[in-house]
């Protein structure tokens, strides 16, 4: 039997524009990695999303300047190895300045 987990994904600009939202709840199989979640989202939102998030055509490396966070910890270079848990928060954004 497949167990599903819910994660909340937050976007920064320009992904807010590409996805049309700042936040969404996503359901994935338990044991899924962050990278597989990103790939699912890339499939859902298309080339503009891929261009913002992934460095290469193979879509297994996060683009420089894009930050992936899991529960506010930066994991951009570890997305392949980290599995999501129920009620995790994923952030996908570019650094922002000022305020």
């Amino acid at each position: 039997m497949i167990t599903l987990v819910k994660v909340t994904v937050h976007y920064g600009h320009p992904l807010t524009e590409i996805t049309g939202k700042a936040r969404e709840d996503v359901t994935v199989k338990k044991g899924s990695t962050v990278l597989s979640l990103l790939k699912n989202l890339a499939t859902k939102y298309g080339d503009a999303f891929k261009d913002q998030v992934f460095l290469n055509y193979g879509r297994d490396q996060v683009k420089e300047g894009t930050i992936i966070s899991l529960n506010a910890k930066y994991i951009s270079n570890e997305t392949e190895n980290i599995k999501v848990e129920d009620n995790d928060f994923i952030g996908i954004f570019r650094a922002v300045g000022g305020g």
């Binding site: 807010t16 506010a72 952030g91 570019r94 922002v96 000022g98 305020g99």
Partner: protein
């Protein structure tokens, strides 16, 4: 006197008690050691203010300050600072604003305006073309910032002049009253508006056509182009600040559990998108706004055309404003936030301190520390738009519960008692802003504890740009630990040294008189100390390198620190609100708390060359910085710990 390239060359000193105006030459001994702007003002206030004076008494002085880069082609040159002793904190105060006032003051022929004494009746000061006159302001007293600006411009007959004025809040001595300029730009923090109110000076108005002489024009132009080219590569600006303004930060800060929500309860607000930059752009945005000579244009110009929160076109709101009057109060109505911002600007209130004070009152009401008997029947419910608007009116006019909140949260909490002191979010009496230190980065907690003016994310520099944002600020060759340590780490990873160096980079903008934003970024896409040094050298003809500029910054922060020491502040004042030591309740940063501030402080003092026990700069450090006279004065004071 020889020509001082880059400077107007004169100080305007106005004694309001005696109605006396003096035009004095700039002191080259101060320029040599402190460059200008905040550095110059710090030296003047150190020499001229007696320790322990009442900030709202005639003995306090207030300085409008510009720097050599102000009003030039340098990016972000539409700046000025207001320096004084704060009526909110009793400590060092500097408050920056953008717009056009700083450049126009220099074009009028003055680098600084020093206000002394207290006028018998309300007055305003008209500074133009190398001259100045004190004018009657009886008819202006009681008017809002917007009204005052319109009336003064008509009276002087120069619609292009820049008006820096106070609103009713400054007149009523609200301790976090602002000095607004160009209607909606604010020197907001630390209460400079109350100091102007205490001196009965409603406005300083300025304009002129004097240019700024450049020592080496071609070299300066090339240095400016290099800086502008770097900024063009700054993608965070391109993606966030330019299209959305500072409120473009809302969604990202919420995603990282760093959005102050419900007065210290959490860093996460499910409704944050409702007042984000993206939402504003689709709803109430009229157009973008930029300060003098700025290629970034972070300002927003907004309007709510109809409904209960209808608001005329005006500038704002900023990130800080939407958070302090939004999520901090568990409030998500963007129209009401825009209305609240407009009212704060009109009355001359700091939106950070006002939002903090309102949320504090809601928390006290929620916990039963304030009741309707205290509030005049007003129910202070979380998230209620009408309550927020009502409290802004009451604070500005010092009516009812507003009179208590107008004192700032430290004094209000002390008066309420019953444990309210534990709830109040401030450092040294300055209300904490919209960067949740438990969620953003632990360096932010150290910054809040040690910033000379109290809990501030911007003075002297936004340290989160390093361990939260992964930016260098051009400081790698100055020894900034790189790559940056984990943002949640506290000790043993170089946070003390990092925060010290970042502060010194920030003071470069404060001494040269420019905006902070262009200094945020990586080596290749921001204005590094090296780029500032190149522009400054070409402008003034005084050759200076980046390391010398950083050394001047170190001298300035040591002097500001000593100003506070002279006022009786010690290590016990370098602290953070108690709530920041408790875990965040919900969201991505659930469980995060500041656990070892003392350890971070030790590392910071060690990096600064300050005594760990007292936090006071050592004599050795002060003498190394050419501040022997400062060390001698502190050593000679009876109540100050010996150095």
């Amino acid at each position: 006197m020889k020509q001082l390239f880059g400077y107007a060359g004169k100080v305007l000193r106005v004694n309001l008690t005696k109605k006396k105006i003096l035009k004095q030459p700039l002191r080259e001994d101060i320029i040599d050691k402190y460059v200008g702007c905040v550095g110059y003002a710090a030296r003047v206030l150190w020499e001229e203010l007696k320790p322990g004076i009442d900030p709202l008494g005639p003995g306090n002085k207030l300085i409008f300050a510009t720097g050599p880069l102000t009003g030039t082609l340098c990016p972000g040159s539409g700046s000025h600072e207001i320096c004084t002793k704060s009526p909110l904190t009793g400590a060092w105060a500097e408050s920056r604003s953008g717009g056009f006032f700083g450049p126009k003051l220099k074009f009028a022929g003055f680098d600084f305006v020093i206000l002394e004494g207290r006028a018998e009746k309300p007055v305003y000061l008209w500074v133009h073309d190398g001259e100045a006159e004190i004018r009657d302001a009886k008819e202006l007293w009681g008017k809002t910032v917007h009204e005052t600006t319109d009336v003064v411009l008509e009276e002087i007959g120069d619609p292009e002049a820049s008006v820096a004025c106070i609103g009713p809040a400054g007149e009523k001595l609200v301790r976090f009253a602002t000095v607004m300029n160009d209607k909606d730009r604010a020197a907001a923090r630390c209460g400079p508006g109350a100091v102007m109110g205490s001196k009965k000076i409603k406005a300083v108005v300025t304009n002129g056509i004097q240019g700024i002489s450049v020592a080496h024009p071609e070299e300066f132009y090339e240095a400016v182009i290099e800086a502008e080219e770097a900024l063009k590569k700054n993608m965070p600006n391109v993606h966030t600040i330019i299209p959305f303004g500072t409120i473009g930060l809302v969604n990202v800060y919420n995603s990282q559990g760093a959005l102050p929500t419900k007065y210290g309860y959490t860093g996460y607000f499910e409704n944050a998108e409702k007042f984000s930059g993206e939402t504003l752009a689709k709803t109430f945005l009229v157009k973008r706004r930029a300060c003098f000579g700025c290629s970034m244009g972070c300002g927003r110009y907004t309007e709510v055309k109809s409904g209960p929160w209808a608001t005329p076109p005006h500038e704002g709101p900023e990130y800080e404003t939407v958070v302090m009057l939004g999520s901090l109060c568990l409030h998500d109505n963007l129209e009401a936030i825009i209305r609240a911002n407009y009212l704060c600007n009109s009355y001359g209130l700091d939106t950070i301190s006002a939002g903090n004070a309102i949320a504090f009152a809601m928390e006290c009401y929620d916990k039963g520390l304030l009741t309707t008997a205290d509030t005049g029947g007003l129910e202070l419910r979380w998230g209620d738009s009408a309550t927020i608007i009502n409290l802004i009116e009451k604070i500005a006019k010092r009516e009812g519960i507003g009179d208590l909140l107008a004192e700032g949260v430290r004094r209000a909490a002390a008066k309420i008692g019953k444990g309210a002191e534990e709830l109040a979010l401030h450092v040294k009496g300055l209300e904490m802003p919209a960067h949740e230190p438990r969620g953003e980065a632990k360096s932010t907690a150290l910054l809040y504890a040690t910033s000379p003016r109290g809990a501030c994310h911007m003075h002297p520099y936004w340290t989160g740009s390093w361990d939260f944002n992964q930016w260098t600020g051009g400081l790698i060759e100055h020894g900034l630990p790189w790559p940056p340590p984990d943002k949640f780490a506290e000790t043993g990873v170089g946070k003390g040294l990092g925060v010290k160096l970042l502060m010194l980079q920030g003071i470069i903008q404060e001494t040269t008189g420019v905006c902070r934003f262009p200094a945020f970024g990586k080596e290749e896409d921001c204005i590094t100390p090296k780029r500032y040094a190149r522009m400054l050298s070409a402008l003034t003809g005084r050759e200076i390198n980046q390391f010398e500029l950083m050394k001047i910054s170190e001298r300035v922060i040591n002097l500001e620190k000593c100003f506070n020491v002279r006022e009786g502040l010690t290590r016990k004042d370098d602290t953070i609100p108690e709530k920041m030591k408790e875990p965040i309740a919900t969201g991505p940063t659930k469980g995060q708390a500041v656990t070892n501030l003392d350890g971070m402080l030790d590392e910071y003092y060690e990096a600064c060359g300050w005594d760990k026990k007292t936090s006071i700069p050592t004599r050795e450090k002060l003498e190394e910085l050419g501040l022997k006279d400062v060390a001698d004065e502190l050593a000679g004071m009876a109540k100050t710990p010996k150095i």
